[in-house]
Symmetry: C2
Subunit: 150 residues, 2 copies
């Protein structure tokens, strides 16, 4: 177990990485069947006929897989990764066979005015594919506890 990070351990500009995960065709279709049953996520021919030109993963699948990478990655926040809000964009689609990773950078750190035992950090989490293209750009606010007083 890596040590858990408290607000006091973090600084603006700090960077973290994750491992990688590869999206299979089967996983793309299974996720879509459950959560985003649109033809271009379910069927190769429908993908070719769509604006994407081929079968693509749901953006929510890209997001959910990025979350797993983050949970298992270097940025191990004490109490867990609890997102409050985020600005997300998907500049590029994710395709079956893509291998994703997430690179994170802390943009801002604030102690709560009303709850001094915790704070909120702003983190940019960029999900990249094997060509280093950004498939998800997420700037999120995460709840982080301060280190308990000894």
């Amino acid at each position: 177990m890596r040590p858990q990070l408290y607000l006091d351990d973090l600084q603006v500009g700090q960077r973290f990485t994750t491992g990688t995960a590869t999206l299979t065709t089967e996983a793309v279709k299974a996720f879509a069947a459950q959560f985003d049953p649109q033809p271009f996520h379910l069927d190769e021919a429908a993908g070719r006929a769509s604006v994407f030109g081929r079968l693509v993963a749901s953006g929510w699948h890209t997001g959910a897989l990025s979350m797993r990478l983050l949970v298992e990655g270097e940025m191990r926040i004490a109490g867990g990764l609890i997102g409050l809000s985020g600005q997300l964009s998907w500049p590029q689609a994710t395709y079956p066979g893509d291998t994703l990773r997430v690179e994170s950078e802390i943009l801002d750190i604030r102690v709560s005015a009303t709850r001094p035992e915790r704070g909120v950090i702003t983190v940019r989490n960029r999900t990249l594919n094997q060509h280093d293209e950004i498939v998800q750009d997420a700037v999120v606010k995460i709840l982080v506890p301060r280190r308990p007083q000894q």
Copy 2:
């Protein structure tokens, strides 16, 4: 099949609803095991010990389930629901047993300057639970084709 909506069919202020979906404990744990394996999404006792006070669903699960409700809901956009970007917040957690629905309102409509055959709409998708509390507030930009010329 309901008719598909083109940019020309939409107007600012237009509202759409969806059906409902209920999150089971089993579904919450299964999603978390695959995409957000944090203790408070996987185990009742860990949920009670967390800031949530009980087992909670991953925010990505709330988002993915909201997507399914939207895909199956009234706002049937021609060519599919293709999100470009979004601002999301989760003002309230989603708990096992919650029944969710999505209420949408069109905030803005723009024809593309460079691709006059399509445009981008801004939609607020609010996911509500059975107590009418907002569990996800998403303001998203969606690609919408114009009606093809006859």
